[in-house]
Symmetry: D2
Subunit: 338 residues, 4 copies
Amino acid sequence: MTTVSDRYDPGPQIAQVGSINIGTRDIEKSLWFFRDLLGMEEVQRDGNVAYLRCYQEFGHHSLVLTEQDDAIVNAFSFRTRRPEDVELFYNDLQAQEIEAVEIPAGHEAGRGTAVRFLLPGGDHPFELYYDIDKPEADPSLRSRLPSNSSRRRGLGVRRIDHFNIQTAPGRINQAEQWVRDNLGFKRREFAKFADSNTIMASWMSVTAQMHDLAIVANFEEKSAQMHHLAFNLESFSDSLAAADILRDLDVSYGAGPGKHGIGQAMYLYVHDPGSDHRVELYSGGYLIFDPDWDPLEWKAVDFPEGLTWYGDPIDTTPGNRGRDTTGSAPLYLSRQLA
Amino acid sequence: MTTVSDRYDPGPQIAQVGSINIGTRDIEKSLWFFRDLLGMEEVQRDGNVAYLRCYQEFGHHSLVLTEQDDAIVNAFSFRTRRPEDVELFYNDLQAQEIEAVEIPAGHEAGRGTAVRFLLPGGDHPFELYYDIDKPEADPSLRSRLPSNSSRRRGLGVRRIDHFNIQTAPGRINQAEQWVRDNLGFKRREFAKFADSNTIMASWMSVTAQMHDLAIVANFEEKSAQMHHLAFNLESFSDSLAAADILRDLDVSYGAGPGKHGIGQAMYLYVHDPGSDHRVELYSGGYLIFDPDWDPLEWKAVDFPEGLTWYGDPIDTTPGNRGRDTTGSAPLYLSRQLA
Amino acid sequence: MTTVSDRYDPGPQIAQVGSINIGTRDIEKSLWFFRDLLGMEEVQRDGNVAYLRCYQEFGHHSLVLTEQDDAIVNAFSFRTRRPEDVELFYNDLQAQEIEAVEIPAGHEAGRGTAVRFLLPGGDHPFELYYDIDKPEADPSLRSRLPSNSSRRRGLGVRRIDHFNIQTAPGRINQAEQWVRDNLGFKRREFAKFADSNTIMASWMSVTAQMHDLAIVANFEEKSAQMHHLAFNLESFSDSLAAADILRDLDVSYGAGPGKHGIGQAMYLYVHDPGSDHRVELYSGGYLIFDPDWDPLEWKAVDFPEGLTWYGDPIDTTPGNRGRDTTGSAPLYLSRQLA
Amino acid sequence: MTTVSDRYDPGPQIAQVGSINIGTRDIEKSLWFFRDLLGMEEVQRDGNVAYLRCYQEFGHHSLVLTEQDDAIVNAFSFRTRRPEDVELFYNDLQAQEIEAVEIPAGHEAGRGTAVRFLLPGGDHPFELYYDIDKPEADPSLRSRLPSNSSRRRGLGVRRIDHFNIQTAPGRINQAEQWVRDNLGFKRREFAKFADSNTIMASWMSVTAQMHDLAIVANFEEKSAQMHHLAFNLESFSDSLAAADILRDLDVSYGAGPGKHGIGQAMYLYVHDPGSDHRVELYSGGYLIFDPDWDPLEWKAVDFPEGLTWYGDPIDTTPGNRGRDTTGSAPLYLSRQLA
């Protein structure tokens, strides 16, 4: 007999965005950007690899900077809900004949065993793990608030927020469906190409956030690239202060501040001068607690105000860099499996 | 053989704070406060009962105003994760020999079947339900943003946020333990009385919020009363604008604005002139996505800055009304079961 | 012997922007906009003329709405520093053989005698006055703060801020020089056309504000038109809240929010649906107290970020209406002298 | 014959708050506070004297830190409107038989000749000057905005705002009257002791600010002390961010943030750890352009909300340090004349 419990066994689940490992051609410039300007804590440095976290994060790192020739994304890492989920996911991948690699504990400092695979339909390198050290910050940085791992500093990024990844239109539906079916992401808002069943963009989450992961179509030859990586700021006003300061520095400013209609959050894009990756400083937005949330669809006619409800418009032309008109945004292929 | 899945069957679960049903001696005054001043939508009016929701809520109501002699709380309602959870919870209560009442669909307009019981250790009337209508707002109020059920108006309350309830010190540990064991709330931050194992206050959630429900000890003769009901504002700046406007109106202002160390959110307390219930306008705060969150304990010496990290101090003397020194806060007993 | 005092006799002076009298084809729509939406107080209504003021203004009005066929500007009014300055200015105009008209007290309700003339080089109708009634607000609107004439309401405009007027490039230098020489405005920031001595735009003030009056060149056939009229909001955050609310209403939104590099203030443009005049909601900005302020010049290469340091870009194409792409901005000729 | 011009000859005038010279027992700690934390620019260092300015100030300095045994105020300096006003003021002082000292150019680096005297009725050392160098910031600090002398940094103080000085009740009326009659300050808001003609506090300005100088009565034995020195922040939100950061540092926090009813500005008090002087971070407030402003009187019954309209209450008990309960505020006598 099938019991209620059996029917609703959740299986392995993703709990949260964990961290990202990006290549940078100049780790000192990237450290200036993420640590000195954005205000992250440099938790550990091992030669050409630096581990950083935000002031409200207790895990060992949410950002890994790896100095290397190609500024590709080495891994998008998600944390599972339970320790055993890592192995359960591995089994699921095996059952689907998706190539997966077990990564030993310590491969990223402070992290336990992980499983690595390429997103079907998207080719992005995903890693799933549960165990992560929770080191105390250096005494000189500690906060008196127990919910802060260190004091707020710099532009005040408080936690990693989400990833926005891109893939080819011909495979995006497969990728989006796969993360929903297999990783438990729920579609929250989405848009399709006009007169088509092809997804143009989908915002999905495993948490109460409107999105932890967005998958967006692009028409570039190379399908797997990251559009941006986002960190969370405490308030809209922090976004304004950040914009003011960033505009006055010699960094490649993108677009913003503005408020997305999609998600009702404020965006501000800027490029890390070491890696050239696009980073979003993100604040506000609504939360979803309804268990029966009906995904919101944006029609083409309304899509521009989905991107920009108010503020600096986002130009979705491939390669667009917003206010930095000195060049086009490079393709950031994601690293392959091996 | 016990499988992993069996071990982790979640059983019935609470998804979110649903709504509150409060008595008011003057429903027109309460409507002025919640609808005209705070900006809620009056979805339905049935004689002496009014149903309201906030501009980012799609369910039929998050607040029920019932005109009656005693301004007690008629029900604290929570929504379950799955339709069948309502019955599963009922079975659990029966198994524990806790008296529970089935409330038929439509008892609160737009809502399906609910189960009602008194919180063990707290005597607060809790109701659990899943089904809720999702009516469209009147065309004159609709928003162009699909994630808003109506346009932002008034002081801009966007959703119900949490309940803060009180019980006697001799029974608080029982109440707090019960909601954790049986409703799936997780303890996020807490404080105990000095040199005691008795909980002074516990902030708990079933969502990524730091708390959906707080249980606080009090020393009044009558143990079951609500301290406050909270609605969420979009930003700290909205809290400041609300404070400015509220201070200039003939309403009973409580305390705030200030920032709690506990939860890092901004508070502002004001009393509904119809019911005299204390309402918190709440903004900001950190979110919890870590599946292994370790509850944060506040020691007595630090507790004052847990209450007020900065801003208008909160006076926890029983009956204190903050800036309104014209009287003491009355006891708001919660309605009993039948 | 010439004494120090003689050398520095200031002569007649302008103290502040006083009010504007605009034509509107639909006074009820304009009242909805300025009174109900922006939050102004309707101080007096005389048939087809309405007098309004902001919540931190004590004078009888800062805005006059006159229902008439042409939505032109009837008068830009400035208040003098001393009662006798009105006559002194009149004498000065006579001495320069500039046609001037004396307007009797009560021509605008609550206002004393004024002198009216057309700006040399610009043809805009200027009026200078000193006496103005300071009526108390209706008791239902009064604030408990003595520095507010009424309570903050609606989008919270607190005072008239500045005028931005346009004239033909061939005459702009004359107009700008005239207001500096004769009305005591000081040039604070400015730009010239490339390789030219012709002023493109000049921001000038008689107060500590960066500008009370801007004169900008345009190439339209008709030279004298107003670009916008500005009201002041208390904070940047009020600008964001206003943008959110305005985007969700059926009003013709212009551009913003964004921060000007020029003046470092936040802008938000919207059109009054009754008159179609462009109204700026303006917040922040730096103040000038230095008695020897050196006007800041913007070179053409930097001018775009003078207009928009961050946020929604301003399109200076004639007729541009920002986000409202349904039509072009009409020319609003200023009313002639008689 | 007396002409209009004669009657209104303004005579020598004060244009603005210029700078303050304070003693500090530990200049390195004070530099950490004002330069590294508040974000001021260290323009010049001459042995035990440091000169600093804010990011929107062009003059050589607005703060002088002098390392010395007594952390007294060495000088409150105001800048005159015209070069010759310095000598004209000197003549006026001579005519009134008030002892005045001429201070040569360069006594404070970058500054021209000044005249020094003790405020009649208050004994505070005032200095008046006009000439001040306007050095460019070091290239590494320069802003791309021409209205900023350097980039915004730290907590973002953008200019010196006002002084709040105290004197004995028996002499305060004399002091307040003297600055109004002789320095051109206008009374903007004020309070008197109940049933008395004695001023309790008076807020006065020579600019559009509600106050550049406040004089407040105290009952301490020593009459002449500074209550605080204020710097201006760009927005209320900057005040909140500053409060958050200051609360988490080992500095002596005072009171705030809160909004004064008087002036409608936000306050936040903190003590410089080098000198222990109280510093206010001040934002917002209304501006006065009305030439016939009628001073607003606060009655005793309303005075508490004049101090605190909302937010952290100000305790006016002598010696009170707000949240820092470790000691009482020391008396900061102002330096005498010679």
